[in-house]
Structures are given as C-alpha cells and as structure tokens.
Symmetry: C2
Subunit: 321 residues, 2 copies
C-alpha cells in the first residue's frame, strides 16, 4: 500500500485538494459532517486504484484526479448512509456522524456528496466514465437492499452472501479500476482486465472485513467487533460454520441470526467459529480472490504501477494478521 | 394542468413506461418501495415541465422522455429521504415508506432511484443535461441541510426562508425546465427564460404548500396539516405573522418554533395567522411568483406548449382555493 501511495503521491495530493474543495458549501453543517468522515484517516484505497489504473495505461492528469475524487465521494456517501441503515455508533474509530448529529444530516450530506461526485464526473467530460459509475451506484444500492432483506435470514446461502458482497463492495472497486482505464483512453481489454482486478480485490477486502468483525484485534481498526453478529448479518464466517456444524450448532446459528440473542451468545459464536475453523477458511477464500485479482493483471504492461497494484491484494489480506 | 397533460399525453405515457421499467430490480424490495410512492398519484408536474419545455422549442423524442423520467426519479428520491429526515408518517395521502418499512429501505431505495436517474441522463448522451441536474441535486441537498439548520430557529428571516425554498424546491423546477430547453438544442436565451419560469413556478409551488400546511382542507391533499408547525419549520406564514405581531405574539412564536409546544398551541397559531392575514399574504406572494413565471415566457415562441405552460402557475396557486 505504501509503494502505491508513494508512486501516485503527487496525484493523491491533488485529489485531496479536490476532495476538500468540493465538499465545501456555504451551508456550514455540510463541510462539518463531511470532514468528520473524510478526515478520519480512511485509506483512500479506491481513488488510489483509479489513479494507478490510469497511470498504468499511460493516462493520468486532471480528468483522472477528478475521477478519483469522485470515487471517494461515492464511497463516503455510502458510508454516511450505511451508518443510518445499520444504526452504527462507530466509524473509522470515531463516533459515527449519525450518532453525533442524528440521521438527518447523514442522509442529506450523503446526498450532497453523491451529487458532487457526479458534478466532478461531468467535468471530466467523459460520458463512458459517468456510465460506469452511475451503474455502479445503482448496483451498490441494490446490494445494500439485498443485505437488508437477508438480515436475520439464518438460512442465507453462500451464493447469496457472495451476490451481496459483489454488489455492495466489489462493484465500486471494479468501477474505480475500470473507470481509471477508460479515462486513460483504454476502454477495451485493458479496462476488462482492471475491472476483474478491482472486483476480486473488492471481494477479498470485504471477506477480510467480515472476518475481522469476529476478531478482537479489530477494535484497533476503528469498528465495533461483533456488529455483524448483533445485526444478524449472515457473513461468510457464519455461513461456513453453520454449514459444517452439528445439529446443536445449527440451532444456535438459527436462533442468534434471526435476532433472538442473549448474554454469552457472542462468546459461544466465537468458540464455534474457532472449532469449525471458519475465520481461517474465510481468509483462505479472501486469499483466493486476492490471487485472482493479481492474475487479472497478467496481460497488462509491466511497469511500476502494475507492480504496486500487484502488491495491494496481499496488503488487504494481511490486514487480518 | 389538464391542458398540459393532454398536450404531451403521448410523451407522458412513454415517460411512465420508462419510470416503471427503470425502477425495476431483481431485488424485490426496491420496486415495492419505489411503487409505493411512484404509484401514489403524484401529479408529475416536473416531468410535464421538461417535456413541454422541449416541445415548445421544437425538441422532444427519446432524449426528452428519458430526461423527464430522470427528473421524476430525482424528485422521488428526495421525497423518500425527506420522509426519513422529517420522520413523516404520511405522504401523498398514504402511510409513508419509512413508517411502513423503516428508515433503511427509504434511504437505500432513494439512493437507487438517484443512481438510476443518472443512468437515464447518461443515455441521453448530453453532458450539458447531466451538468444541470447534478448541480441541481447538490443545491437541493444544500437546501435541505439549510432547512434542517434553520428548524427551531424562531428568528429566521424571510430572506433565509426564501434561500431555503429556492434551493430545496425551486432548483429542481428550474433544472427541469432548463434541461428541457437544452435537450431541444436551445441552450442560450431560451434556456435562461425557461429556467426563470421554472424557478418562479417552484417558489410559487412551495409557498402554496406552506400555506396549505396551516389550512384544514389540506387533509384532502395527502399531507398532515400542521406538520411544519410541529417540526418548528419557520415558513413564510409564520415569518409574516411574527414580523407583524405584537410582543405577546412574538413571544408565542419564539416559544413554539423553538420546540416548546403544548396543547392548544396549533389552534392559537391558526388564530394569530388569521388575525395577521398571514396566509392570504403568503398566497399573494405565491401569485407574484406565478406572474413572474409567466412573464419569463414572453420572448418564447407562441404555441400550444407555451399556452399550457402559461396556465400552469395559475393552477398551482389555485390549489389553495
């Protein structure tokens, strides 16, 4: 990740300044709420992918930078709305915006950033880029609604889980990489390769996130351990443990995932996940997606940008260790 | 309004079919929540304006229809989010979506429709149109946040109120009309004229709405009478009554608008509004904006579409009688 950040540091400085410039508004509550998230030390992984994808193919410049800022705005908007949807109290290690100011500013400032992301895309003058990100935005919303409908459904299958993750998380990674190629004028096979890279990286990213939700060390990473469990989100660790569990364990998962939880349940869940090796198997799956992400870049020009992108999936998986 | 609807009925049928087609999703909760609003008998005033504006200038066709559907999607998305922000229970005479399904689907389906509106705009292939509506979308969000910040501020001025209304309501009417001209290939003076028409019509529309909030007959129009009052929204009737009231009345407005309400306050508010002629003066202001809307069309070609647009402001104001 550091290699990548160093490689595009000049671009990223420009992106940061676009982000801070465009989240401004004479309506003071908007920059306040936006800054709460934007300045909370996110890793900017999505805009980094956009910039590196464009540079890898010989592109870059103003349009790529605006596009990268636009991708980060879409991400920030979804975080603001997610916190309202999940009623979360913690985000990036800080009290979440909805907990600090209420749901209304989170909803509206999310809308504002979403609109601003389209303003920025319009300025790139590239309709293909708008097409990619508008599609991604509707797929993300579909994924979030799928996840909502699946909450407390203790029988949700692995396929359904992967559909949700592909839509709610991987779609934006995919669009960030694909749009980087397109803005560099390479809409063909190179864009497809980078899209596959982004999609697989996004899947790896979310699987690691879901594993960390059952890992005590995640507390240091700015989220509440056990949030998914308490919200009845049937993530990959639970699916794997449930499907390889005995009758007693299946009854347990059915009860707790359908929302009937009592004291000590989370500790029991952790014990079962350990017994069934479910966290390790989730991370194995994340590693497989990380490998697929790297493999997707095989046909692209071998330069420093490709090297940096090849390092990223390993970094994402290593978060869990 | 009927004249206008009749004149573009073929266009509007196509728009309805685009709306219903594009709100579809394999994720069943999305069309369910969207249909709850879309099929609740909204007047489709914004897409009608877009279509008539395009036709007035000799435009029309597929791009104008997609644009009109896109404008209605933005409107529907803001309604879904508004209900979460205001914690409303009633919308278009039905239980609101957030009351029926909770906040989460309203937020996410709003996001979905917002994204779909940009998909549709991309399909028009017209970057100028995207620019107009992306700008409008961020201005609308700014207006909503301004309104939020002004709630329970009993001293809010008339200027501030008009700033809020211009942003949260008039901006989309303005964009709907302007984009109609642009999609017809008339981005210059004609687009400016139609933009002024839309802006003034939107102001008239919101003033009438705010007057109806204090009018018993509004119950028949699908909203709760007194919502603005209970939410401490300092709308024009309150501003006018407060600024022409005696010391006692000013104390009353300060107390109730800052959120300290008790039984009988709404009845007393109605009595003061009557005494100070505040509803009638709000409707006078609405009529002035309606006249300004009509005046803005003076330089445009005199055809049936212009005639229908000239009738619309009168219809909007007549809602209150």
């Amino acid at each position: 990740m550091e290699t990548l950040a160093r490689l595009v540091s000049e671009d990223m400085e420009a992106v940061e300044s676009i982000i801070h410039d465009r989240m401004m508004s004479p309506v003071g509550m908007i920059p306040n709420v936006a800054a709460h998230l934007v300045d909370a030390g996110g890793k900017r992984i999505r805009p980094l992918i956009t910039l590196a994808s464009a540079r890898l193919l010989g592109g870059g410049g103003d349009a790529a930078r605006k596009l990268a800022a636009s991708v980060e705005f879409i991400h920030t908007a979804t975080l603001l709305h997610d916190d309202v949807v999940d009623e979360s109290g913690l985000r990036r290690g800080k009290t979440s915006a909805n907990r600090m100011w209420g749901n209304a500013p989170s909803v509206l400032v999310g809308d504002f950033l979403f609109a601003r992301s389209f303003n920025l895309m319009v300025e790139t003058g590239d309709l293909a880029v708008l097409d990619i990100l508008a599609r991604a935005a509707s797929v993300i919303a579909e994924g979030e609604v799928m996840q909502l409908a699946a909450a407390n459904d203790a029988d949700a299958t692995l396929d359904r889980y992967l559909d949700i993750v592909t839509a709610k998380t991987a779609a934006l990674f995919e669009a960030a990489a694909r749009a980087g190629a397109v803005v560099a004028g390479r809409a063909g096979a190179e864009a497809q390769a980078l899209a596959a890279y982004g999609r697989n990286l996004g899947l790896a990213f979310q699987l690691v996130d879901d594993a960390l939700d059952y890992d005590g060390r995640a507390g240091a990473m700015g989220k509440n351990v056990g949030d998914d469990f308490r919200e009845g989100k049937v993530t990959m660790p639970v699916v794997l443990a449930r499907d390889s569990g005995d009758l007693d364990e299946r009854d347990f998962w059915r009860r707790v995932m359908s929302g009937h939880q009592q004291d000590g349940d989370f500790q029991r869940a952790l014990a079962i996940l350990r017994k069934r090796n479910a966290i390790a198997r989730t991370l194995d799956a994340a590693r497989d997606y990380a490998s697929a992400a790297c493999a997707a870049l095989a046909s692209l020009p071998a330069n420093a940008y490709r090297e940096a992108l090849l390092e990223l999936p390993g970094f994402v998986v290593a978060r869990a260790h």
